[in-house]
């Protein structure tokens, strides 16, 4: 359940009771309106009763006034009669005008009006006229007649009042029923709505509580995962073969793994909180100057500093030294700020020794291959010469001897050339000397002539003039022998190798890069080319495409030698159907800065 769903439930739980109560209020309103109407009707009945009572009083007033006048003949007694008479018609009309009368009641009122009119016209007015004329009005019949008329009026009034009262009683009973039903409805609605709200709220709360339980589950699972991943990380750090130190953003040590403790000689509790430079002291192999730590470099450049052998030496706590390679990487928070730095380093003392051993091994392998070539190159002419001597010793004519000696001379010249080339290959020198690349390559091709011939490879060269560079000749020979061998084996029978030297003068190239004076030796074959997935591995040690026949060290050592010479070596290859082949370019500077350490 997400927040909007939760808010939705909150809204529902708030809105539903309000709506329910509104419905209840509506229902009550209709009920109350119904009883209000009944109350109105009761009031109406009351009004009718009081109006009828008022009429009774007026009739009594009229009758009393008339009777007084009749007795005394004094007109002052007539005043109430007239007063009542003047009001009576209006009040009867008022009674008639009262709402809620049924036809029966209307009829009663009409009767009342008629009876009263009859009493007035047939009794009261004649009596008044008689008295005024001085006549007698105490006649029993007359008065009985008046009484009968008046009784009719009274009877009508009583009827009206009785009916109104009956109606009032009915209405009150109705009002009671209404109130009763109102109470029932109220009770039913309250119960219904209460149950509804209760059930609804319960269901909503169930959903919320389920979601809450789900969240709790997830949280506890996350906590478990976090714990596990932390354990994994910790175990990984402790088991890893490299030294790992983590620092905060200011370069203070936070954590180091056992290997880091062992390599630096500082235990984790000792080193914690120290600046990295105090614990991880590194100096340059040759100058002994302090070197910037990868952590400082990461802080300065704000990016990963890859693992590399910078020819640095780690000064351990006890004063001993280790050859190391190191790397650094920033630790970033979610918004990308550097909150710490990880330093990874390893002891490469053994690695360096292994590398040196491998380089020597490859040199021996090259020497071994060349020894076989040389044996072949020497034994062939030697065989011819011994045979020629044998022939001459066993009686040859002078003409034959001359011919034999010429032939022997040719073969000996060949041996001399081979021997010279071979000596050149193995003449070690301490300092770089001037080497003519053209001569060097020609000598190598001479030495390899046989091998190339055997492989069925033809070689064409484009080396117009001598090009001199400062170098270690034996090492250059090793490189070029290697590259020509590779090219020949790639080209295969019927293949071609093109070797060219392109001199380069010092200057600035198109992209503003400064160019050194020197030359590029290009060795190109028309073999099948190197697949793209293989190309990245070419310069790795022990990577070979020749199976048992290769050491996998040739290009690795060659690159080491070229780097030592301050030069570059690059391989471009095409595996296309028509234009396939591999081209290796080696740039050597005329006066290079020799890297004693051998590069990489």
């Amino acid at each position: 359940m997400n927040l909007s769903q939760f808010n939705n439930i909150l809204r529902q739980v708030f809105v539903l009771p309000v709506v329910a109560l509104l419905v209840v209020a509506g229902a009550l309103y209709f009920q109350i309106r119904g009883s209000n109407e009944t109350v109105n009707l009761i009031q109406e009945s009351d009004a009718r009763i009081s109006q009828a009572t008022l009429l009774s009083k007026l009739v009594v007033d009229e009758e009393s006034g008339l009777r007084g006048y009749e007795t005394t003949g004094d007109t002052r007694f007539l005043q109430p009669f007239y007063e009542a008479e003047s009001h009576l018609q209006t009040e009867i009309q008022n009674l008639d005008n009262l709402a809620g009368a049924d036809a029966d009641q209307k009829h009663d009122i009409a009767d009342l009006r008629d009876e009263h009119q009859t009493w007035q016209d047939a009794f009261a007015l004649p009596v008044i006229a008689t008295v005024r004329g001085g006549g007698q009005t105490n006649d029993v019949d007359l008065n009985l007649h008046g009484k009968v008329l008046m009784d009719n009026v009274r009877h009508d009034l009583d009827d009206i009042i009785q009916k109104a009262e009956a109606s009032r009683t009915r209405r009150i009973a109705r009002w009671h029923r209404q109130v009763h039903s109102l109470l029932l409805v109220l009770l039913a609605l309250a119960l219904g709505m209460g149950v509804l709200i209760g059930l609804f709220t319960r269901s909503r709360l169930h959903a919320v509580s389920a979601a809450y339980r789900g969240s709790l589950d997830i949280l506890s699972r996350r906590a478990e995962e976090l714990y596990q991943s932390e354990q994994q990380l910790r175990t990984t750090l402790e088991s890893i073969g490299d030294g790992v130190i983590t620092c905060d953003a200011e370069g203070r040590i936070q954590m180091m793994n056992p290997v880091a403790s062992e390599l630096t000689g500082w235990s984790q509790p000792e080193a914690g909180g120290h600046q990295l430079e105090d614990v991880f002291r590194i100096v340059d192999e040759t100058t002994r100057e302090p070197v910037e730590t990868p952590v400082a470099k990461v802080m300065r450049l704000d990016k990963i500093v890859g693992m590399a052998n910078h020819h640095t030496i780690l000064l351990r706590k006890d004063g001993t030294e280790l050859d190391i390679s190191d790397s650094g990487a920033p630790i970033r928070d979610k918004s990308g700020n550097t909150i710490g730095i990880v330093l990874v380093f390893r002891d490469i003392t053994m690695e360096r020794k292994t590398q040196e051993a491998l380089i020597a091994n490859e040199k021996l392998a090259v020497a071994g291959r060349l020894a076989a070539t040389i044996a072949h190159e020497i034994h062939n002419p030697l065989d011819s010469v011994t045979n020629l001597i044998y022939l001459m010793r066993n009686g040859a004519t002078p003409e034959e001897s001359v011919r034999f000696m010429d032939m022997a001379q040719q073969e000996l010249t060949r041996v001399t050339q081979i021997s010279r080339a071979m000596l050149g290959l193995y003449r070690e020198s301490k300092a770089p000397v001037v080497v003519d690349l053209k001569e060097t390559l020609e000598e190598i091709l001479l030495l390899m002539e046989r091998r190339l011939h055997d492989l069925g490879v033809t070689v064409s060269t484009d080396m117009p003039e001598p090009v001199e560079v400062s170098a270690f000749p034996a090492e250059l020979r090793q490189v070029f022998t290697n590259l020509v061998t590779n090219a020949a084996e790639a080209a295969g029978p019927g293949g071609e190798i093109k070797i060219s030297i392109t001199p380069q003068t010092a200057g600035i190239d198109g992209s503003g890069q400064k160019l050194q004076a020197g030359a590029t030796v290009t060795i190109a074959d028309n073999g099948p080319g190197i697949p793209e997935d293989v190309q990245p591995h070419l310069f790795q040690p022990f990577f070979t495409t020749k199976g048992e026949n290769g050491t996998g060290l040739g290009l690795w050592v060659s690159r080491g030698i070229i780097n030592k010479h301050g030069g570059t070596i690059c391989v471009t290859s095409d595996t296309g159907d028509t234009d396939h082949g591999t081209k290796v370019g080696v740039f050597l500077a005329t006066n290079p800065t020799i890297n004693a350490g051998g590069g990489d």
């Binding site: 044996a375 072949h376 034994h379 062939n380 065989d383 011819s384 045979n387 044998y390 022939l391 034999f404």
Partner: protein, 142 residues
């Protein structure tokens, strides 16, 4: 001591080569891509009384071997295209009875190559050794 005996026999046959040629003019095929080496070997063997055919590569050698009544083959190992081992294998298929002497400028040929031929020797061991070994190969015939 057997070596000394054979050595002197060969020297003798070399000295009066003219007679020998008439006595046992065995036909020998020499295969080698070394121009001068092949030429010298031909002269040497002819002086020793053999009739000599030459070929400078494997396919030519095999063609001559099939066409002529060759009695022995002196075969170079290292040649472009087809090396001595391959040529020997094919020759064995064509005429298994013809002996083959393998010459090599390399020291220490692999056993699977040397087992294909009757005898082998390293170049530069000298003419007497060559003639001696060829003589051994042809002895049963002569």
């Amino acid at each position: 001591m057997k070596g000394t005996f054979v050595y002197s026999r060969v020297i003798l046959s070399g000295v009066d080569g003219q007679n020998c040629m008439k006595q046992h003019s065995n036909l020998v095929l020499c295969v080698d891509d070394e121009r001068i080496g092949l030429e010298v070997r031909k002269i040497l063997l002819e002086r020793a009384g053999y009739r000599v055919l030459t070929a400078s590569d494997g396919p030519t050698g095999l063609a001559v071997f099939s066409a002529e009544p060759v009695e022995a083959v002196v075969l170079d190992y290292s040649m472009p295209g087809m090396h001595g081992g391959e040529i020997a294998t094919q020759m064995r298929q064509i005429k298994p009875e013809v002996p083959i002497l393998l010459l090599s400028a390399y020291i220490g040929l692999a056993p699977e190559v040397t087992s294909l031929v009757d005898l082998y020797m390293t170049k530069g061991e000298g003419a007497p050794v060559l003639l001696e070994k060829l003589g051994i190969l042809l002895q049963p015939v002569s």
